[in-house]
Symmetry: C2
Subunit: 346 residues, 2 copies
């Protein structure tokens, strides 16, 4: 686990100040581009560039199965995890369409399907054949956790090798909102009912059942739910562990990250718990309709770019926000200054 | 004014139902793409296409000066209207950068600068040398109103002739949040203080002054503030009249419209007051930080796509939302169905 705690360099303060100063000179009332100004200035500081750019976008979707699915906590059958991996490989899922629109590099990583799929464009990095049912036992053992974390780091290594300007992680795993809700409840020390939502489409009674399954597991594992890594091992999914390590690794390598929805944000929360400096490298694509997302974003002090009542995962809400960040850069780089355009100031 | 009341055909109900049915078959939990699903389905109905598309985007920015600027209601000097028109013509303003990013056709129309600018790429459609100061007299006369309305219609005619799939109107005019606040207060029959905001950057005392100027004008003109066209003539700006007519005209010609910020939304409110059917053809780019915008959007029953604390105008918040609508279309058109991808349903 040593690499998780390796130091993270903060974005550059000089480039930050220089970019702030440029924003004040552009032909617009000060602050009138709102959150886009902050995005451009932060990216300049991260990239150590006067003119930030987001040309190469890297999207890694991590997929894994969950033992907790046995408890009847999802609206969809477990086989859908594998079926959707095939759909990602064939380019038919929402995240594929969005990745094509922003010309992103796209890959899907099997971190632990029940049965591996034999497809040339699915990266095999299996930590196990699904996690164990965490209502009874820890979701994974130490070796499995190590492999799942390594899957996230490997994805970031590929992104860096490809010259990526931005890393986006996505996830797929039937029952993974149950795992994420349990992780969030344990991390934030709140009851499951405060954070448990409909996932792919549960009704009110099914959501109550899901929250009871989580609270019972939190009670069962109470003594071992101490550090973020303990929590991740006990309640996590392999794909959530991969995301957690990917976010830390990206920050360690100075690669900006765009976080997606509820599950990705829970991984971000764990990442910040493990290595707090990584938070400086995060942007947040959206606030989803999944009940717990707003609460987790609040804990991260996040300002999401979109709020479109989405609840799909896969990285979709993050990829959707890419054009906003790209336009924030172009506004910063291409707008005329008051003096260039000979426009009077206030 | 006859053309303003010409009938508007509603978007096609059969294409609407067909698109709804397709959304239910795509490989995602039902409803999980949130507002994007609604956008794609509505566009299919407007375009009478099974597969909606947004390739050609037409952006017309209308600029005009305001007599009410004499009352000290803006943070910027009046000459900035003309200076920004030159900036638009040179491609240096925020809306230019955004229009380039989405490959939109861009034009700027002078509907009434104090002094016309002699630039080949500024369309001259002057209704007058700025409006009159509405604190004392009606902002424009009947002839001027007719010309300003025609400027909006002409822009839509050019958009239709160019084969546009979407119309965006922008505006520039020092003091035009004062005009827009007065128009909104008169239309919604609420006190100016409920809707008057900082515009380009007033402090609290200056906002109070601005609201008092507006309330005093509303009282002065009380007897004539009856129909939306009376209100527009008395308190309006030439660019706001142009936007109002453009929105109605686009709806009459079956061209979808993407509304920008506070001023554009006030024009949309007036347009709906004049010819209610046009509302079915509107999308809303964003909710801005300008105080009155949320109130006007509420009156329009609008669901804006973005909320980034922007307050720039120019059409910027609408152009920024274009990629969201484009991705909504592509998701609708390109995602695999459950049966195509052999994915199990809930």
């Amino acid at each position: 686990m040593h690499s998780l705690s390796a130091p993270i360099t903060a974005p550059d303060a000089t480039y930050y100040q220089q970019a702030l100063s440029r924003q004040a000179q552009l032909t617009k009332p000060p602050g009138s581009l709102g959150l886009l100004e902050d995005c451009a200035v932060r990216l300049a500081a991260m990239q150590r560039r006067a003119m930030p750019k987001l040309e190469k976008i890297h999207v890694s979707v991590f997929a894994a199965d969950h033992g907790i699915a046995e408890e009847g906590v999802s609206a969809f059958p477990q086989v859908v995890t594998m079926e959707m991996v095939k759909n990602f490989a064939a380019g038919g899922a929402a995240v594929n369409v969005l990745a094509r629109h922003v010309d992103a590099y796209f890959e899907v990583v099997d971190v632990g399907l029940l049965q591996p799929v034999a497809l040339p464009n699915v990266i095999n990095h299996q930590a196990g054949a699904g996690t164990a049912n965490f209502s009874r036992t820890a979701a994974m053992n130490d070796e499995q956790l190590t492999i799942a974390l390594a899957a996230g780091r490997s994805a970031v290594e590929r992104a860096v090798a490809n010259g990526a300007d931005l890393f986006i992680g996505g996830e797929m795993g039937i029952a993974n909102t149950t795992s994420a809700s349990a992780l969030a409840a344990a991390s934030l020390r709140i009851p499951a009912a405060d954070i448990t939502g409909a996932g792919t489409g549960l009704n009110a009674g099914q959501i109550d059942h899901k929250a009871r399954v989580i609270d019972s597991a939190l009670q069962h594992h109470h003594a071992v739910l101490q550090s973020p890594l303990d929590i991740l091992k006990t309640l996590g999914g392999f794909e959530i562990a991969a995301l957690t390590a990917a976010y830390i690794s990206a920050a360690q390598q100075g690669l900006p990250v765009l976080i997606d929805g509820f599950i990705s944000s829970v991984a971000a929360l764990l990442a910040v718990g493990i290595n707090p400096g990584c938070v400086d490298w995060f942007f947040y694509g959206h606030c989803s309709a999944e009940k717990g997302h707003a609460r987790v974003l609040q804990a991260l002090n996040a300002q999401p770019l979109l709020n479109l009542q989405m609840r799909l995962g896969e990285g979709s809400g993050a990829v959707l926000a890419v054009p906003l960040l790209q336009m924030a850069c172009r506004l910063h780089n291409e707008m005329a200054t008051f003096s260039q355009a000979q426009v009077s100031t206030a």
